[in-house]
Symmetry: C2
Subunit: 339 residues, 2 copies
DNA sequence: GTGAAAGCGCTAACAT
DNA sequence: ATGTTAGCGCTTTCAC
């Protein structure tokens, strides 16, 4: 299993009657007498020569590739993250090695260690690793940045959207609508954002006297669908979901039961995936500033790779709440009953 | 910008008092005296040594990385493809370089050529390249397999779901429900599957005397939403979409207009993305046998990389139609009017 | 401006 | 079973 016999720099050098150094210089844009350069280029063209990036990598000590680790490739939310970062990377002539680390189903730490042998840096999106693992990983992986998991106190470079703030805004909005009994459908316990969001819900409860509860759900549509009945057992007037996927699953179940959204019950998600706007009723949610976060993550990684010491002060980009049709005033009398 | 001074095989060899060859043997699982092996392993452990994959790649002529080119990372349909192939690749100790080639917005050919310098093979998903480009690419890229675009007549390895067959089944089903005026919302003209699907619709029309028309749409939810009104101008009783995303966008618009699905009009998609089951009404669609196609694609690529000549006879995996609530009997009298 | 030669970290003959 | 050594394809001093 060897790569098929491509032509090497030596073939080009011989064909052009120059040294390999000259060929190398032509391809890296250094000054070379024009007639020589032309001969090199035409020889390279005929031979279909392309520099072997592995050899280049060996001497430069760089792969010009970074690893991207996400919990779920099929979640459009992460898909858009990949888009943003890959586009940015590409303009800097980097490529993206994508690896999936589904919660619990895989060893995220090992995945990263393996990836690390092949890349110049890694970006961890919404990592579910333990703090210890993350610290260890950071000491092994030269250039690591953690996205949507605040790890500054672990001295690991990171940039995250302000998940607490968005959820607080959402809660405040629901309170203004008269909701007094909220249930939060929780994401994975190991998710930092989940912690932030639930904290925000609790904070809103304490601040306003609103009853708040939570039920474990997960992060997929199926999970939302499955957790709905448990959530309803608290007789809430509004449901808050860890992410939009969950919320969509909840809406499906609510429809099935015959509950009218938002008349009987309100529901809101988080992330603003493209579907959110197009379901019926359209889903109230909060934007997650993917581009802003993605760009910051990339420039942090670039800085790390350039050897710049980690910048301690990073602003948390904040998402806006997007009010659509799935939320409305709390039902006037009794909390909803799913009989 | 150089990788930070990792320890090399030589450091380990010196620390363990053996030759570099022995260290190499220990790591590749060859027979080595146990006491030596132990010394090597502990030295490696202390030094945090990990073999440099670039150097390994240079000597083996392999990167153990393959490129995956998809039209849209944020489309869950492609996300699931990535999952299937990445999982398969991983068990064979390969990693996946993901690149996006959005229709028209990028030069897919150049993307592939660039990718090719870094990988041992590439899998092209739903490629929108021209035939010429594809043939050229195939001659440059050692190991290429094209997924969901049948290219056997171009002598390019490929595996595709039987898009014609699924769409035919869907049409037959709608005809049985009494539909006599169908509109197909078209995907990108450069998509092979789009051609197959539209051909199937036309075929069904010719076979049964049903009126069929098409409108250009695209491949995103937004595209479906935007194309709905044009589709309705044909007064169809049922709508067929290039993919589920489009169908979801259509449903959104239909709801907005106040049309009752499936009483006033039926709508079906293709791909069976997870959302399809959970929208209201749930979406009739056809499965796309991602796992089957993905697995076949991987094993074809593996065969190519091993130098096995390309197998001409490949079965097209076929998807099943999934009947849900978005389709029903044709309205008894007049075709729908969106007044 | 150009070439000769060393060497990036590793593996695979080839000796022993 | 282990060590020595010659490269893999490229870039980069260092002479010229």
């Amino acid at each position: 299993m060897r790569r098929t016999g491509r032509s090497t720099i030596r073939h080009v050098a011989e064909a052009a009657g120059v040294s390999t150094a000259t060929v190398s210089r032509v391809f890296s844009g250094q000054r070379v007498r024009t007639d020589l350069a032309d001969r090199v280029r035409s020889a390279a063209g005929e031979l279909g020569y392309q520099p072997n990036s592995t050899a280049q990598g060996l001497v430069s000590g760089l792969t010009r590739t970074v690893g991207l680790v996400v919990p779920d490739v099929a979640n459009p939310y992460f898909g858009e993250f990949i888009q943003v970062i890959a586009a940015e990377a590409r303009r800097d002539d980097f490529r993206i090695l994508v690896a999936e680390a589904p919660a619990d189903k895989s060893n995220e730490f090992e995945t990263c260690m393996d990836l690390n042998r092949h890349v110049d840096g890694v970006i961890l999106i919404a990592s579910r690793m333990t703090d210890d693992e993350l610290v260890t990983l950071n000491s092994r992986v030269g250039n690591l940045v953690s996205v949507n998991r605040n790890t500054t106190e672990l001295r690991v470079a990171s940039v995250s959207a302000d998940a607490f703030r968005s959820m607080s805004d959402l809660c405040a909005y629901l309170c203004r609508l008269g909701h007094e009994n909220l249930v939060y459908l929780s994401g994975p316990a190991s998710s930092w954002q989940n912690g932030q969001r639930w904290a925000a819900v609790q904070d809103a409860g304490g601040r306003s006297g609103v009853t708040v509860n939570w039920v474990p759900a997960g992060e997929s549509i199926e999970d939302g669908y499955a957790a709905t009945d448990a959530a309803l057992s608290f007789k809430p007037t509004a449901l808050l979901a860890f992410n939009d996927l969950l919320a969509l699953g909840v809406m499906s179940r609510l429809n099935e039961i015959g509950l009218n959204i938002p008349v009987d019950i309100s529901i809101a998600g988080t992330d603003d995936i493209p579907f959110a706007r197009y379901v019926s009723p359209s889903l109230t949610t909060t934007t997650s500033p993917r581009s802003e976060v993605g760009l910051q993550a990339w420039s942090q990684l670039l800085a790390l790779m350039a050897g710049t010491p980690l910048n301690e002060e990073v602003e948390m980009p904040i998402g806006k709440i997007i009010i659509r049709q799935s939320t409305g005033p709390a039902p006037s009398r009794e909390p909803v009953d799913s009989n």
